[in-house]
């Protein structure tokens, strides 16, 4: 009888937890776009879920897209060359990274002439010296920095779907959004939509008029065939998935080790809680309470 009652109370506490955890999601809900953004599909990201890890080949392809296309306008100020060879990332060798860095010239006031070839410790060179130059070169729009962009965007699920995200740990809305945005261009704005000069129509961009021209098209980046010799499709769909995955890595370079640690921590806590419960029961066994 006592046991049943305790169980009941414990259940209430667990339910209260779940409910309170649920409310935590409310602020995210408020971000809901009132301009009726079309539904954004979830992609099957390899890094989603508690066992998620980055696909090294995808990160390498994403890096290629970033380097050849995106980085001509977008900076990634928090990324250093060395990050590319760190564990849990695109897994380039240190020699590759050294060679890559040397291809770039970086500013260094202590070097002769103020510039020198890059080294692995340098940050990724920005395409423009400042925001004003970036705006001038892009029709007045400022290309956002890529460092944490994948986490600065999100997708708002309607109630009650967002509640489940707390239990699945789904945090890949930013990558979903980037993927959708890259696939969301229309050649012409729908009838009745005033599109300003130098703007492009995109289903997923807030307000629909985006300053960025469609950056990727079928075949615009040439992929090396994979190790197994199978060619990776050179499609917009493939490019946008790859670059979104790479941007997620830039925003969260330690995601893999974080999740791996978490798994051990949770396993420990559950087992430890079990032992603690056994001890507590034994201790209280002789007490009517």
């Amino acid at each position: 009888m006592i046991g049943a009652k305790t169980m009941f109370k414990t259940k209430i506490i667990i339910a209260a937890f779940a409910a309170l955890a649920g409310f935590a999601g409310l602020p995210a809900m408020a971000a809901e776009d009132s301009h009726a953004t079309p539904h954004i599909e979830r992609q099957g990201w390899s890094f989603a879920g508690i066992f998620g890890t980055y696909d090294v080949h995808q990160l390498q392809r994403g890096f290629q897209v970033f380097r050849e296309v995106c980085s001509s306008c977008h900076s990634a100020n928090l990324i250093s060359f060395r990050n590319l060879s760190e564990e849990g990332g695109p897994d380039f060798s240190e020699a590759q990274v050294k060679a890559l860095a040397a291809e770039y010239e970086v500013e260094d006031a202590t070097a002769e002439g103020g510039r020198r070839p890059g080294v692995a410790a340098d940050r990724w060179p920005a395409p423009f010296a400042n925001d004003q130059e970036a705006r001038d070169a892009n029709g007045g729009s400022l290309p956002p920095d890529f460092s944490v962009l994948a986490k600065a965007r999100g997708v708002t699920d309607p109630f009650p779907n967002w509640v489940f995200n707390y239990f699945t740990g789904y945090q890949e809305g930013g990558a979903d959004y980037i993927h959708a945005l890259l696939n969301g261009y229309h050649e012409e704005a729908p009838e009745g939509f005033e599109l300003a000069e130098g703007k492009y129509y995109n289903d997923y961009f807030p307000g629909k008029a985006i300053g960025m021209a469609p950056p990727l098209a079928e075949g615009s980046v040439t992929y090396e065939p994979g190790e197994d010799g199978v060619a990776v499709p050179e499609t917009l769909e493939q490019y946008s998935s790859d670059v979104a995955a790479f941007m997620m890595w830039m925003a969260e370079p330690h995601l893999v080790s974080r999740k791996q640690t978490g798994f051990v921590v949770l396993l420990f806590l559950v087992l430890f809680a079990g032992l603690m419960y056994g001890t507590k029961r034994k201790l209280w066994a002789g007490i009517e309470h």
Binding site: K5, I13, A24, L26, P27, A28, Y170, V265, L269
Partner: protein, 416 residues
């Protein structure tokens, strides 16, 4: 409380110390021998969980402060630096950020437990009042902490909330400028908020000390609300409650760790990964979830009352919603503490819980119909519950018969 002491100094050194500074005696009396009702349920473990939360926030916070730079140009990147380059930084930072939410989860459960079991009633009014002060200070500390990463929500949240001060007649604008250190949120604001965010947790810790001191004078309330009558109603705090509280803490750490390792950003807002920009206003400005109930009350007053305009009215309502908690012990005059023995009270209590959840939900919704109407309704019930329902129930309700003692109650349960 020296009558509970069973401490006898074991040797000459202990005796010497005990005659001069009886810390060991104090610890034995209050952390080990302290007589605690044996019928406390798991809702009572949240006090210990909250002590743990405060400790976790202080330890992680002190480490974060070693790597953080309170400057508008550097703050955002310094937080990313902690996540990317500081050893263990991504976990310490996530524990601190998630820890704020977990703190409030435990805080709200702890307060609602007090409200249900009448833990604020005589002779425990001071415990409750100190608790309310801790809650208000924690709200202030959490709010200032959210400014520090210097993201868009940090900046705009600070802008919206600091405008509250300007609603105060005559001196409002001056107070606002004093709080912000200027006319708008800027570098001086970030610096003073960082300084206060570091200071206040220690003030909170001191009040927690008083809160526990005040608790150790009358001892714990308990689920039946009948005072301890004899020693067989109680068990020593150690090992019985140290063990139970430790178990509850470990269980609490499971959802805590889940968020830290698998969804550290899910409790925040994506906009806070965009550096603060005074030129770009986010589409919706929302405070952190734990402030939403009071944000709803602030926004619910969108009409003028006589000479009080809607802005000042909202501030009065929000401030009132917090300050009113201080007088709850004198609003609920029912002699019966525990809600379990109050058939009418129970209904209004659970409606109050649902209402509070609704206030939280509404705080995240845009200010448009039907949310604005619901917000008014829920705000009205929040105040009615304390100012009308509790006093009236105390007079008209016939409580169920109380057990004569804790021991009788637990024995009755065992044989039922």
């Amino acid at each position: 409380m020296s009558e509970h002491s069973s401490y006898t100094p074991g040797n000459a050194v202990e005796k010497w110390l005990d005659d001069r500074l009886p810390v060991v005696r104090f610890a034995k009396e209050h952390l080990m021998d302290f007589p605690t009702p044996k019928n406390l349920n798991y809702w009572w473990t949240f006090g210990a969980i909250l002590v743990m939360c405060l400790g976790v926030q202080i330890v992680t916070g002190v480490i974060l402060a070693m790597h953080y730079t309170p400057n508008v140009g550097l703050a955002f990147d310094s937080v990313e630096h902690i996540r990317r380059d500081v050893n263990g930084g991504r976990i310490i930072q996530a524990v601190h950020a998630v820890g704020a939410s977990m703190f409030f989860v435990a805080l709200y459960i702890h307060m609602f437990r007090g409200l249900f079991y009448g833990s604020y009633k005589a002779p425990r009014e001071i415990i409750w009042i100190l608790g309310v002060l801790i809650f208000i200070l924690t709200v202030a500390t959490a709010f200032m902490g959210y400014i520090l990463p210097w993201g868009q929500m940090s900046f705009w949240g600070a802008t919206v909330i600091s405008n509250i001060f300007s609603a105060i007649p005559v001196v409002g604008e001056n107070i606002k400028q004093l709080v912000l250190g200027g006319f708008a949120v800027g570098n001086p604001t970030l610096n003073r908020f960082f300084s206060l965010h570091y200071l206040l947790p220690f003030v909170i810790a001191a009040i927690v000390g008083l809160h526990i001191w005040a608790l150790h004078v009358p001892g714990n309330n308990n689920p039946i609300g009948v005072e301890v009558k004899e020693s067989r109603d109680t068990v020593p705090f150690h090992p019985y409650y140290t063990m139970k509280d430790l178990f509850a803490m470990v269980v609490f750490m499971i959802p805590f760790a889940w968020f830290v390792f698998f969804a550290p950003d899910i409790l925040g807002h994506p906009d806070n990964y965009i550096m603060a920009n005074s030129q770009v206003t986010p589409a919706h400005i929302v405070p952190e979830w734990y402030l939403l109930p009071f944000y709803t009350i602030l926004r619910a007053i969108d009409f003028n009352v006589l000479f009080i305009d809607s802005k000042l009215g909202g501030v009065i309502a929000m401030g009132g919603a917090l300050v009113m908690l201080l007088i709850v012990p004198w609003l609920d005059t029912s002699k019966v503490r525990s809600g379990s023995f109050r058939p009418l009270f129970k209904w209004f209590y659970w409606l109050f819980v649902i209402n509070f959840v609704a206030l939280t939900y509404l705080g995240a919704q845009p200010a448009e119909a039907p949310y604005t109407h619901l917000a008014k309704l829920c705000t009205a019930y929040y105040f009615l519950y304390f100012l009308v329902i509790l006093p009236v129930l105390s007079r008209i309700e016939t409580p169920k018969p109380l057990p004569t003692s804790i021991s009788e109650s637990v024995l009755g349960k065992a044989h039922a």
